[in-house]
C-alpha cells in the first residue's frame, strides 16, 4: 500500500564522471573541459544565489577569472551567511602530522563514514582538492591555529584516527567565510561582482530547457524583478530548518532548491538528516532554535543518566556513583563517549525514551566534567573548553564547572539536496548546485569538519572548471525580460505573494512551522518506522491544507515584511517535509542519518541492505513523486559493517 506514495521512474546515471583510475579522474575531467578565452569571459554572466562558503568562494573565483557575476543573499551582508556559525574545523589531507594521513585515507574515511551511500569519484576529488583549500585560505589571511614553531596546528575530530582538522579556535567557519567574503568584496570593488544583499530568490527561470535566470524579491522595497544570465548557481545551503528547531540559523531555508525542484531539478536523498548529539536541550515553548556545543567536549566529558527513573528529578550531585549509567561506555566499551554522531544521538534518545532523561521534559542527558576537573584541574579544563562552558552558562544560567551540562541531540545538517552530476550540474542544464544545497559527497552521514571542506572545494576548485566548460558553449541566446517564460515565472511569484497575504486567517506562520517541526522530529527524526512515516505524510498533507486556508500574514508585499518571507519558506518546507517522509519510507534499511527501526541488528545497531539500496534516490517532482535510482558502485572502498563496540 505504501507504493502509492511514489512512482518508479527510469534509472539515472552520472554521465559526467570519468572512469579509469580514480587518482586521475579529476585531472582528466579538467583537461577534457572546454576553455573560455579570457577576452570572451566578460561577455558571459553567471548568477550565484548564496554567499556562504560555497557561493562566496564560487563568486569570487568566477569573478576573478573574468566572468560577470551577480550574487544574491537574504541577509544584509554576504558575510553573515550561515557558514559563519561552523565551530569545529575543516579537514584536509595535508599529512602535516606524519600520522599516516593521505588523500586515499581521507577518501576512505569519508566513503565509510557516509555508510557507503556516496559516490567514490566525487569523494576522491574532494579529498584531493582538500589540500589546496588550506593553502588558499592561508594565503587570504585566515588565522588558523598555529604551533610555537609557526606552522599550522591540527586536531583530530569527529571519530577519525588522524589529526587532519585545521581550525581557528571554535570559530573556524567564521574565519573561512571572512576569507571568501573579503575575496568577494574585492571583486565587488573591482566591478566584477554585483552584489544584491537582502534579496531573496523566489523562482527559477527556464527557457528552452536551460536555466537562464531567477526571480527575486527585494526584501526592503518588495519589488519583484527578474535577473537573466548564461548560467545559474545555487549555493543556498541546507534545509534542516524544516524541523523548526535545529542548530541552523533562523533564516536557513529550502526555497531556492525547492523552486528549482518544482521546475524539474531532481532532489536526491532528502531523508538523510544529520543529528548532532551535543546540543543544549530545549528550555521551553519560547525556544526558537538550538545551540550546538562543540563535539570536542566529548573528548573529556562523560555522558550518563540515572539508572533509575525515580532519580531523574533529583539534582545530579545527589545521585550516587553506583546509581549512574554511563551508557556509552557500557554499550560501546572501545569507543565509549567518542562514538560517531549517529550512534551517540540514538543512544541518548533511547535512554530518554526509557524515561531516564534529565532536565525539562526528560529530554536531556548529562555531559559531566567532574572527572576531568579532578584529574586535570579546573584550570586545564578551563583552558581547553572555557569559551564553550561560558556559552553554556550564558544560555542555561547553570555553571558547568559545578553541575554537569545537559545535552540532547538536535538536527544539524542535511546530506540530501539537489541532484548533481560530477560537474555539479543539476538535471536542468545551466543550473549548477554547490555546497550543502547539493547532495553529492557525504552519503548517508557526514563526518565532522567535512561540510566546510566540501563547500570550499566546490566553490574554489571544482565549479570554476566545470561551469567554464558549460559557458564555453555560450553566450547563450539573449532573452528578453518579456519572454513568456520570464513573465510566467514572475507572475507565479506575484500571485503566490498575493495569495499568502490575502488568506488573513487566524494562525501565525510560526505556529505552522512549529507544528511541522514536531511532526518531522517525531516521525522523520532520529528513528523512523513505516507506520510513523505513513502517519506523518497524512499529518503534513492536512497541515498544508490548513496553512493555505488559515495562515495570517500581516502587512503588505511592498515593504520589509519578515512574516511574508517566513510564510513563503514555510510553504516550501511543508512540501519538502512530505518528500522527506516518502524518501524515508521507501528506504527500508538503516543507513547513517536514516535509522529505520525495522532494519536493525539483534543488538539494536543500524542494518544496511547493500544488495537492495546501494543507490542514490533522486526524486522528480509531481503530484506523486517519481523515484529515479542512480546505482552506486564501490571499486576502491568495499562496503563493510560499521562497528564501534
Amino acid at each position: 500500500m505504501t507504493e502509492s506514495f511514489w512512482k518508479d521512474g527510469d534509472p539515472i546515471a552520472d554521465t559526467a564522471a570519468p572512469d579509469g583510475p580514480i587518482e586521475t579522474r579529476w585531472d582528466r575531467r579538467k583537461f577534457s573541459a572546454k576553455l573560455v578565452n579570457p577576452a570572451n569571459r566578460r561577455k558571459l554572466s553567471v548568477i550565484v544565489v548564496g554567499t556562504g562558503l560555497a557561493g562566496g568562494s564560487a563568486a569570487a573565483t568566477l569573478a576573478e577569472a573574468g566572468y560577470k557575476v551577480r550574487s544574491y543573499c537574504y541577509q544584509d551582508s554576504p558575510r553573515r551567511a550561515h557558514s559563519i556559525a561552523a565551530q569545529g574545523g575543516i579537514n584536509a589531507a595535508k599529512n602535516y602530522r606524519n600520522d599516516g594521513d593521505s588523500i586515499h585515507r581521507l577518501f576512505y574515511d569519508t566513503v565509510k563514514g557516509g555508510d557507503f551511500r556516496a559516490r567514490e569519484s566525487n569523494v576522491y576529488r574532494l579529498a584531493q582538492v582538500s589540500v589546496n583549500i588550506i593553502d588558499q585560505c592561508v594565503a587570504q589571511g585566515v588565522p588558523f591555529a598555529r604551533e610555537y614553531g609557526g606552522l599550522l596546528d591540527n586536531r583530530s575530530f569527529g571519530g577519525t584516527q588522524v589529526s587532519r582538522t585545521f581550525y581557528a579556535r571554535g570559530q573556524t567557519g567564521q574565519q573561512l567565510l571572512l576569507g571568501a567574503y573579503q575575496a568577494m568584496e574585492r571583486q565587488i570593488g573591482l566591478g566584477n561582482i554585483e552584489m544584491f544583499a537582502r534579496h531573496e530568490m523566489l523562482e527559477l527561470v527556464i527557457v528552452d530547457g536551460k536555466a537562464r535566470g531567477i526571480v527575486v524579491r527585494d526584501m526592503v522595497t518588495g519589488e519583484i524583478t527578474t535577473d537573466l544570465a548564461d548560467a545559474v548557481v545555487l549555493a543556498s545551503g541546507g534545509y534542516g530548518n524544516v524541523f523548526f528547531l535545529s542548530t541552523n540559523a533562523k533564516g536557513c531555508n529550502v526555497t531556492a532548491s525547492w523552486r528549482a525542484h518544482r521546475k524539474g531539478a531532481l532532489f536526491a536523498n532528502p531523508c538523510y538528516t544529520q543529528i548532532h548529539p551535543t546540543c543544549i536541550p530545549e528550555s521551553g515553548s519560547h525556544q526558537s532554535k538550538l545551540t550546538l556545543m562543540s563535539e570536542s567536549l566529548r573528548n573529556d566529558g562523560r555522558v550518563w543518566v540515572p539508572k533509575r527513573r525515580e532519580d531523574c528529578g533529583k539534582p545530579a550531585g545527589d545521585i550516587a556513583e553506583g546509581d549512574r549509567d554511563y551508557y556509552l561506555e557500557r554499550i560501546y566499551p572501545s569507543f565509549g563517549n567518542l562514538v560517531p554522531r549517529d550512534i551517540a544521538s540514538r543512544a541518548a534518545k533511547n535512554v530518554c525514551d526509557e524515561g531516564r532523561g534529565v532536565g525539562p521534559g526528560g529530554l536531556g542527558v548529562y555531559l559531566d566534567f567532574a572527572d576531568a576537573i579532578s584529574r586535570l584541574g579546573r584550570d586545564a579544563v578551563e583552558a581547553k573548553y572555557g569559551n564553550l562552558f561560558e556559552m553554556y552558562q550564558r544560555i542555561t544560567g547553570e555553571d558547568p564547572y559545578e553541575v554537569p551540562m545537559r545535552i540532547y541531540p538536535a538536527v544539524h545538517y542535511t546530506m540530501g539536496g539537489l541532484w548533481v552530476d560530477y560537474d555539479l550540474q543539476s538535471t536542468i542544464p545551466g543550473l549548477f548546485v554547490v555546497g550543502e544545497a547539493n547532495f553529492s559527497d557525504h552519503g548517508a552521514n557526514r563526518l565532522g569538519a567535512s561540510a566546510l571542506m566540501q563547500g570550499l572545494a566546490d566553490g574554489y576548485f571544482v565549479l570554476p572548471h566545470t561551469l567554464a566548460n558549460y559557458l564555453a558553449s555560450g553566450p547563450y541566446e539573449k532573452i528578453s525580460p518579456d519572454h513568456e517564460e520570464v513573465v510566467a515565472a514572475r507572475t507565479q511569484v506575484e500571485e503566490r505573494i498575493q495569495k499568502l497575504l490575502s488568506i488573513n486567517g487566524d494562525r501565525t506562520v510560526d505556529s505552522f512551522h512549529r507544528e511541522l517541526g514536531h511532526i518531522m522530529w517525531e516521525y522523520c527524526g532520529m528513528e523512523r518506522t513505516e507506520e510513523g512515516l505513513t502517519k506523518a505524510i497524512g499529518l503534513i498533507r492536512g497541515l498544508r491544507e490548513e496553512f493555505w486556508t488559515r495562515v495570517k500574514v500581516p502587512g503588505t508585499g511592498e515593504q520589509l515584511n519578515q512574516n511574508l518571507e517566513k510564510a513563503g519558506r514555510v510553504a516550501d518546507f511543508l512540501e519538502l517535509g512530505e518528500l522527506m517522509c516518502i524518501d524515508a519510507l521507501h528506504r527500508a534499511e538503516s543507513a547513517g542519518g536514516h535509522f529505520r527501526a525495522e532494519s536493525q541488528t539483534p543488538d539494536g545497531e543500524a542494518l544496511r541492505h547493500d544488495d537492495e539500496f546501494s543507490y542514490v534516490a533522486a526524486w522528480e517532482y509531481g503530484e506523486t513523486p517519481t523515484l529515479h535510482k542512480e546505482k552506486l558502485d564501490f571499486e576502491y572502498v568495499h562496503p563493510s559493517t560499521r562497528s564501534y563496540k
Binding site: A139, P143, R146, A197, Y460, P554
Partner: protein, 247 residues
C-alpha cells in the same frame, strides 16, 4: 515574569518614528531577548497589529546580524554579549525596557529596529582583503607565522561586523571595526604588501560613508560583543601615519 517594553516603531525610512509601549506577560527567564520579541510578535500578529521588525539570523552570537539599543546600551546590559545571547534572566519582573535601533547617520533605519549597515561592506571593498588569486596559492607551510602573531590576528579577526561600536560612539565613528580588520591582516606576513594602501584606502572609505571621527571616547570597546580592544585603534593610527609618510 511580566515586563513592559517601549519599542521604537518606524514604518520606513521616511517615517518620523515613535516609541510604543507593549506589555509582555509570563515570559520565561530562560528566553533570550529575541525570543521575548518573538513571543510579543506572535501576539501582535493575532491582534491584527504590525509585528516589530528586527534583524537576526544565527542567534548564536556569531553572524553579527542582530543588534539593538536596550535601555540605551548597544546589545544591552551584559558585557561582551550580542543581543541574541542576552537572556531575560538578566532582567527583573516588572521592568520597563527601552528598545531602539542603532543610531548613526551612516546606518539609516530601514524599519523599526532594522538598520542598513551596507557601509561596512563598502569599507571592506576599499581594501579589507589580501589580494590572493584563487587556485594557485603556495603551500600553507611555506610561510610560518609566529604563534603570538597568529593568535593576535585571530583576536582582531573575531569582529562580527555588528555595528555596536558605531551605535555606541557619540561621534558615530566606525574606527573600532576598521581597526580590527586592519590589525587582523596587518599582523600576518601575507598582509604586508598591501598594508599601507589598505589602511589609507579603508580610512578614506570610512569618511566617505559619513562615519564620524574617532576622539578616543572608548564607548565602542565597552559594548563590543567580541571584546575588540581600543589598542587596535592606536595600531591603526600608527599604520596610517607610517603609510602617509611614505607617500
Amino acid at each position: 515574569m511580566d515586563i513592559q517594553v517601549r519599542v521604537w516603531r518606524q514604518s520606513d525610512p521616511s517615517d518620523k518614528g515613535r516609541m510604543v509601549t507593549y506589555d509582555v506577560k509570563d515570559i520565561s527567564p530562560d528566553a533570550s531577548f529575541l525570543e521575548m520579541l518573538d513571543v510579543l510578535n506572535e501576539k501582535l500578529i493575532l491582534d491584527g497589529d504590525d509585528p516589530i521588525a528586527f534583524d537576526h539570523d544565527c542567534r548564536e552570537g556569531i553572524c553579527g546580524m542582530c543588534g539593538m539599543m536596550i535601555n540605551g546600551v548597544a546589545h544591552g546590559p551584559e558585557r561582551a554579549t550580542t543581543t541574541c545571547q542576552l537572556h531575560m534572566r538578566h532582567f527583573n519582573d516588572g521592568d520597563v525596557i527601552d528598545v531602539e535601533p542603532w543610531r548613526a547617520s551612516a546606518f539609516p533605519v530601514v524599519k523599526d529596529l532594522v538598520v542598513n549597515r551596507g557601509a561596512f561592506d563598502r569599507i571592506i571593498q576599499a581594501g579589507g582583503y589580501i589580494t590572493a588569486p584563487t587556485g594557485t596559492a603556495p603551500d600553507a607551510h611555506a610561510t610560518p607565522v609566529p604563534k603570538p602573531d597568529a593568535d593576535a590576528a585571530f583576536e582582531a579577526a573575531t569582529c562580527i561586523g555588528c555595528g555596536a561600536c558605531v551605535a555606541a560612539c557619540p561621534n558615530g565613528s566606525s574606527m573600532l571595526f576598521t581597526a580590527a580588520k586592519v590589525a587582523h591582516l596587518g599582523l600576518l606576513p601575507q598582509g604586508q604588501p598591501e598594508r599601507d594602501s589598505r589602511v589609507v584606502d579603508m580610512l578614506e572609505a570610512q569618511d566617505e560613508e559619513g562615519f564620524g571621527g574617532c576622539t578616543n571616547m572608548g564607548e565602542c570597546t565597552t559594548v563590543c560583543p567580541k571584546g575588540i580592544p581600543l589598542t587596535l585603534i592606536g595600531r591603526l593610527n600608527n599604520d596610517y601615519r607610517k603609510a602617509m609618510k611614505k607617500r
